[in-house]
Amino acid sequence: MLSIVPTFAWLEGLAWTTALRESPFGYPLIETSHVACIVLFAGLVIMMDLRLVGLAFTNAPLAQIQRRLFPWQMATFVPSTATGILLFCVDPLRYYRNVFFLAKLVLLALAGLNALAFHLKTYRSEGWDEDPQVTATAWLAGAASLLLWSVTIVASRLIPNDWFK
């Protein structure tokens, strides 16, 4: 069977990934940037989710909150992803079989699909933003997003623990 391990081994052996892994500042600085970007990104996503489920900012129209937060969510999503990919490249063999890392990938895919469905469907449907009452599907999208991102963050922080080797 074709294995991806040699590719990861090659990636790990590259001069620049080795340099970053062995430098006392390389990995910590990328990792800290990753966390700083995620806190901003997920923090704003969660604010939108809390609005969707009706727990906060309920006197602001949904679409208005969404429209004003979306550019900031995107602006922090891009560096979050870039630093995340970089972190993986620096130490691929350490991560690719880690349970929490794999769970994180699955959760990210689910959160992404949920966000995509919300943006393509609910968000574009006629007059959804004028209704002061959040539609049931929008509520569900918010609750799902809240759950998925919370679990993603917890799983991510657990990656350094090799509990299930």
């Binding site: 800290t32 966390v35 923090g43 604010m47 906060a56 917890v154 657990l158």
Partner: protein
């Protein structure tokens, strides 16, 4: 309690994970207010309305941050006490809390016409910078503490 945290394999890491989750929610509620103060957030709403709604989130998320943060400290209190980054983070935290409860709160709930337009902008920028520095220094304790 500290002994239980030292003995268990799972308790400490799970507390760390819940701590960063609580921090994320807390910072989210700060940032939505700061963006509004900067004039970039949900400007259709008044600064006061956003601040009031965010306040409840700040209270509950802040409580969760403390509940998950304090056991981390007491478990290794002597190590943390010697960590310059931890001490630095605590001073930053005190400054950020003080600034948020006084200046930022006053500006957020003030009549919008009464303040020069640069005032909320500066306050929003300072608040954002302070809270991000608290978050970043907290993360760095793991590496350089």
């Amino acid at each position: 309690m500290s002994q239980a945290f030292r003995d268990s394999t799972y308790l400490f890491p799970v507390t760390q994970a819940l701590h960063i989750l609580a921090v994320t929610v807390f910072v989210g509620a700060i940032v939505i207010g700061d963006l509004r103060l900067l004039g970039w957030g949900p400007v259709g709403q008044s600064r006061a309305s956003i601040a009031r709604s965010a306040q409840r989130i700040l209270f509950w998320a802040g409580l969760a941050v403390l509940v998950t943060g304090i056991p981390q400290f007491t478990t290794n209190a002597l190590t943390y006490q010697r960590s310059w980054l931890f001490v630095f983070k605590m001073y930053l935290l005190a400054a950020a809390l003080l600034f948020t409860a006084t200046v930022r709160h006053r500006v957020a709930v003030a009549d919008e016409g009464r303040l020069a337009s640069w005032v909320p902008r500066v306050v929003g920028a300072v608040s954002l910078a302070l809270w991000m520095c608290v978050t970043i220094s907290g993360r760095l304790i793991t590496y350089y503490g």
